[in-house]
Symmetry: D2
Subunit: 415 residues, 4 copies
């Protein structure tokens, strides 16, 4: 086991750890630890909301979640000798939930998938599902099942939702400018178009006083992925993967968290992954000057590992960039096309007895594949969603005999 | 070998076949043949431009291609007993290029990938690559290589780009209305936002006179996928797949063509697949009333086959919905995110000596996977592009020693 | 399509072709054609018994088959410039059954799997199944089903059972010596320990007179694989594969046939593959002096293709080298271990209603994997057999509710 | 994390644990713990030799290893309600090496592969490699590398070599009878044909006095797999697998150990796997009466998990049942065929600069696949060995330019 360079006591808030983490991106958050290139390290992580969601049958906690303090990240970890322009080479050696006996936060034998309400966070299909819902998933080795979505079992493609390097002051300023410009186009939108810096609930590691105030004032929110990596929510960052992160500040200042037991492409319910606390083991190294050498300027490069769960039969749903309700065409809009593919999958699963929210929760958490299939056949972009049939304990393939509609229970709802 | 129910002489235009096909979607195109549910059938197909592109080293033919007559489709095939509301169950038993000795049209031992010029068709990255380019691919069994993109060899995931059923008059009218409404938002755009019906170059099977005039006047262009299936350009419609098409008219009137030897997700150069003529074998059947039974109302459902070419190591490029040139944020725009992922891959491949157009052509044709990775982390949608490393005969993985830059020749350009 | 360099009229015996093939290994069989390194060629093949087995419901033809004329091979094909010590590099570009309309020999829309009787050929489990049985398989694209083994459907891993180069006179003499020595240890065994040269039914291509007499007198029977390649019956020689054959005579003299639509590892019923006539396309090349350079002296090397049918769930049966009937231990005997694994699978499938011969036929033909799992844990070798569960249309996994025993029909038996 | 029901202090011998394990199969070894069906449990395991092999560069410890005390097993675990005739359903939830910081026994960041000397244990190729050799493997997450076999890295298919249920007295008596009968055919053979009960070094859990004496006198050695499961050394018992073990005594008495970080099919060097101590998590359940219901009488059934490391390109070596040195044919001998396939692979790797022992050690430990390819083409059985090319950091495919022979260092040898 690698040295634990960032420790988390899962019975406490990230704010109360011996060395606390942070919840904003800012170059002045002090490194929690410094490691050498060539090191193998373990980083312990809190679940991203810092433990607001419980293992119960009510979605009220999801409905009422306070997002101002998210994501709770571990780090920053400084890498000796890293300089702007380098590539930070990160091997994901292993990751997993925390040992069960410690307590009952997410990651301790269970995790959750939530549909946020439109009024508090929203999600990809928030116009179709404006209320809050939740599913609890139980872990058995690498497999997940849910009392809220019976008849389903799958192998988790465990991965971190969010890791990245610190932005330089210049890069941070650009982020703030462009995101504020976007917000300004529709400042009252619910949910908002983007999240500006927010002093409320800021956590800046060991920073205090003026330093912390600056982090609160200017620090970028952690929701979107950006030029530093960040909240990619790419399910394929699983064990065995190698990631090449751009370095923007001396020491790289690598941070992250938001561990997922499993997730489908798109993470469509917003906290659609199976959220958990846990640990992640990295090997870190540098390619000096690698950003210019390889032309890696805007986003990390990834080489996925070779132990992804293997499925061989899929049911594929297709969507195109038409608003079918109003019969309106949108030009080559892959987002809308994927939304339609998701809705087609949900409507299909409803025929088997699942409720819409159950199906939506399932597509967020299960190892579905979302594909950009066609983006040149104007005006209709075409996306597709691959649902592995083997995750169901009943046959979901179309046949002349029709779907077997059964009682599929219900997911957690809000009161 | 199944019965050939639609024959094509590859030495002649689709217009000059004994029973010609068609190049518009319209319910009144007369069926070329009627088959029974349970039948296995062979359909022969022309390459989609009807043979305008040659096996040579100039992209002038791509630059000057006449798109008014595309796509040249085989059919319609009427299925006995099919009624609106049914699902047409189509197994893709086999497909492939035409035997080489017949002549020299695409599909006879070779195929092509083209980048259309912005002034005549465009493509996904047309703002980055406004001129016409071409690559010729030679087939050796299931493998493709190109003198225009040396150092690359891959197994084709052979598939039809375009198959579908005929629209009902009502559905056709809706298509025309919504696409004309889109065009009206920017009628002078180059390339256009959508393609309205066009009387020029219309081919309506055996229809003549007033019937043909109506097809020309109202028939939907074949470029976009719609509620009838159509030009999905989903590479996974490969042999062994089963597709469930909605039926909108009596007899279903199933038509198609646009065979591809290989394609990457997105088909990003527009005719980014390796285009060819050839044959396709189907087994056809019906699920009576299946559209309502399974909630399949807007798009077909697909079950891909189990013989897709298998790669196990990928280099993954990521894009987010930011215009990095102008530092402008777009809200959750998966199209832009995928565009950035593609551009990141192209810039990377340039470091190994490929020109931008070569890399662009390669990404259109090779078995790359395009994923909708994150569509909830506002404001930045996140897409990813998986490039199999084994298709290169040189090592394209990042390393401390840097890329090996070599002379990679050049693709076909326009004069 | 590559040039057809060896043509077969499937309505006639191999003996009656314009250029006949051969059924013995001998260096003096005259080449049927000479091709250059770098060529792509098509070879047409007869089914291995030359059409003795019919598409019917009786196994009498299997029981009474005349094996003296097997295998009917196409060739020899001389490769220009090939010399002893070279490696012949053969890419399997494509292969498949013959077009259905030509006639009704195996390969024309159907194939067969046979259990030979112990008195005439035998098979791997001949002591358990001494009588003749047969299953007819119908082809639908790449899929096979059988009226004799209902409830099963799989994708064929199509491959040639037998291809090889001609032996040198010295090598041939060694074969004859060692095989005769083996036979001499138990000359009256039924089935025999090996098959010596046999003048009866010999076919030596275009050789006649004394040359043909010598081929009959000394030519090696084609049943076993040897240092020239030959009858490997390795199911993974499927399309996309590259094989490196040792060259033992000038021109290499490459021959083969025995095409299989599908086969399980071991080909346990002897003609356990789905046997058919058809075509195979090769690209041929040479590595000069490659045998010494790579230490390839006794057997070919293979690189399998990347389009093997993909299954992801298996039921695995284990066998060890114990004769459980007599409770006798055999020392590290992988053959016995695999026999036990096969019998364990058969006994298991019987619980679902299949007869023993049906299960045996299935394991010969379906894409099962046979593994040498442990060969050091003395005295018990351990082999395992992987049965893909998805080839069944019913659930064959063990469960607390027990197997669903149904009427599974019956295979063809002998009268 | 499941409850730890069998604890091991890796700094001590198995003999000195609070509750010691055992190293013989016998029905009277007292259960260490009793668990209920439906439980998830963790079992900690010592490396199989109980720590005799060190992390150093000498193979003297392998040469001189005392095998009388092997294998050191954890257990027995009694399952409440299990009766003879039941199937014990065991899900392998997770397994892995012990945390590194505890000490320096195998499994604590490293493991080893050993070639035993012919005089002390031997191995599959002991006639070719009669001396002792060793390779140390370092673990980095799921990957293994060795300073003794440079240029190689692979993902471990981590699994237990040995788990099983206790034999009934009758079954044990049959084992002893048949194995003694085998030994009697050549009692002085080195290495021996089988290993009879041995009182020396016996460990019987908490048994003492007469009970222990009986275990020593009659207890079956743990080397071979038998009707209780046992030392299968099947690499595919990896995480996510489900195994159905026959139950022969009340309570089932489930025991095991011999954890492997990785192994190739056959485990050809005897301790060819990468040996380690560690932990394994199980879920246990029962199918009452399942042995008769499913016809599972002689061996367990397995369903492998879906996270096996994925490779897509292989170099395949073939062997047939001929002793090529003496030109002697053996009848359908799959053991010899696999031996030849292994030797062909070794001779090939030598051309790249590896020594024979290095190549032999590699084939024991790396994720190679060993196949029973043909066992009906008399007299020559045919086996094949699939070597994934991606485990090498250099190109090992045959080409016209020949192998790149480099300095590949050396493995640990004995003095």
């Amino acid at each position: 086991m690698p040295d634990v360079v960032f420790t988390v006591d899962q019975a406490r808030s990230m704010r109360d750890q011996a060395v606390p983490g942070h919840n904003r991106w800012h170059p002045d958050i002090p490194p929690a630890v410094t490691v050498r290139p060539g090191s193998s390290i373990r980083v312990e992580c809190r679940e991203w909301t810092d433990g607001q969601i419980g293992n119960n049958d009510s979605a009220n906690d999801v409905r009422d979640v306070d997002l101002s303090g998210a994501h709770m990240l571990s780090g920053p970890i400084a890498i000796e000798g890293a300089e702007p322009g380098d590539l930070l080479v990160v091997d994901i050696l292993d990751l997993g939930p925390v040992p069960q006996e410690i307590g009952d936060a997410p990651g301790q034998g269970w995790g959750y998938t939530g549909i946020f309400s439109k009024a508090n966070g929203g999600g990809f299909l928030t116009d179709h599902f404006p209320d809050a819902y939740k599913a609890i998933w139980d872990f058995s080795g690498q497999a997940a099942t849910s009392r809220h979505i019976p008849g389903v079992k799958f192998t988790g493609i465990t991965h971190p939702g969010l890791f990245g390097t610190a932005p330089s002051p210049e890069l941070l300023a650009r982020w703030n400018a462009r995101e504020r410009a976007l917000i300004a186009t529709d400042p009252d939108r619910v949910p908002p178009l983007a999240l500006p810096p927010l002093e409320e609930s800021v956590l800046g590691g060991t920073a205090t006083g003026d330093a912390l105030a600056a982090i609160g004032r200017d620090g970028a929110r952690t929701v979107p992925p950006r030029e530093n990596g960040g909240n990619h929510d790419i399910k394929n960052f699983t064990r065995g993967s190698r990631v090449f992160y751009p370095v923007h500040v001396p020491g790289a200042l690598f941070s992250g968290g938001d561990l997922h037991f499993s997730q489908g492409d798109g993470e469509i319910t917003f906290c659609g992954a199976i959220e958990m606390g846990g640990f992640i083991d990295f090997h870190v190294d540098l390619i000096k000057g690698g950003m210019a050498t390889y032309g890696v300027t805007t986003n990390p490069i990834l080489m996925p590992g070779n132990v992804e769960p293997r499925y061989s039969e899929f049911l594929t749903f297709i969507g195109i960039s038409v608003d079918h309700g109003s019969d309106t065409n949108h030009y080559n809009d892959a987002t809308l096309a994927y939304e339609n593919a998701c809705m087609n999958a949900i409507r299909y699963l409803e025929k088997f007895g699942y409720s819409g929210p159950q199906a939506y929760l399932l597509l967020g958490a299960a190892p579905i594949e979302g594909r950009v299939s066609g983006v040149v056949d104007i005006p209709n972009a075409c996306c597709s969603l691959y649902l592995p049939t083997a995750i169901f304990d009943h046959d979901i393939r179309p046949s002349a005999s029709g779907p077997v509609r059964a009682d599929r229970g219900s997911c957690a709802v809000s009161s």
